[in-house]
Symmetry: C2
Subunit: 160 residues, 2 copies
DNA sequence: ACGGCATTTGTTATATTGTATCATGCGTGC
DNA sequence: GCACGCATGATACAATATAACAAATGCCGT
């Protein structure tokens, strides 16, 4: 049976709380959480689901900001580096981490029917990967696990 | 401890054997293994490591073939569908499957130092993922596992 | 406050990866 | 031969990501 990390806050479901937490975190660490970085993070949070870099760009422009793709990608790199955002390689999209202040290996359940993505942190998966890599003499820096399929809601509704 | 699938042939290391096996397989199944499809597969095999779609295109052209990207992508879709090729989402590249005739969930060890990729089939990883997804009520269609890190060779040589 | 320095952002241009659409070829069976 | 289905060609374009250099901004020691 799998063991999931316990989350007291699900940041992704409450943008305001997540933003406040980010403010506090960066205040504490002294890392610069500039207006642009904050706005991009807010856009990602309010999207409520994975969002593409060019969608972020559009929403920046909606807010009167003239920006180029590179600006968005730079901020994304920053947010990923700071563990507040995950990148989903399979669908070229970005989403807010549910527990940014707790270092973790994550797995993503990507629904091919409705496009929703659920972040989980299953230690059994992480342990199995670590062990498999170790057997091959491979030193893991980042284990990417993106599980394509159909979410519970869509399966129930027979959408797929 | 991890359990690896046992391979009598490592197709990726012997292009001629792999091609002959593919010929036989498609002969048997009646699926059309056209000259273009065969040539693309051969290019992927001879690359010996993951290769990008546009690199495949270049090599097609080297062989006097005038082709457009779409042709390559169509063939790639076919080869992936037939399980002879895997796509690596993390690095946007394609590589030959080591055991195409044996349906399997695969994991990929991607070396960030030398670019080599090793395909493994660790049942413990696959089981853990299946169990984690089941707990979330998620129906898995394709579990993508791409493990970034440093391979044994590079770690030994201190390349990273 | 000022000057020097590092970091961040802007600007412009370009690279890389992947698709859409319609036309053409080509083999299989009637 | 002809109709059909599948594979490929041809042309155009969309989507994603990066390079290179300039300008702005914040930080820090004086
Ligand atoms: Zn996370
Ligand atoms: Zn769904
Ligand atoms: Zn394989
Ligand atoms: Zn290596």
């Amino acid at each position: 049976m799998s063991v999931f990390a316990h989350h007291t806050h699900d940041f992704a479901s409450d943008p305001d709380t997540a933003l406040a937490a980010a403010d506090a975190f960066f205040q504490k660490t002294g890392v610069r959480f500039t207006p642009l970085r904050r706005r991009v993070f807010e856009i990602i949070l309010r999207a409520g689901k994975p969002i593409g870099a060019y969608d972020i760009l559009e929403r920046l422009r909606d807010h009167g900001k003239i920006a180029a793709p590179i600006s968005v990608y730079r901020v994304l790199d920053f947010l990923i580096e700071q563990r507040f955002v995950h990148r989903l390689a399979t669908i070229n999209a970005y989403m807010a981490c549910v527990t940014p202040e707790d270092p973790h290996a994550a797995q993503f359940l990507i629904c091919q029917s409705c496009g929703s993505v659920t972040e989980i942190s299953d230690q059994a998966v992480d342990k199995a990967i670590a062990e498999g890599a170790r057997t091959a003499g491979f030193r893991v820096s980042y284990p990417l696990v993106e599980i394509m399929g159909v979410c519970a809601d869509c399966a129930r509704d027979g959408k797929a």
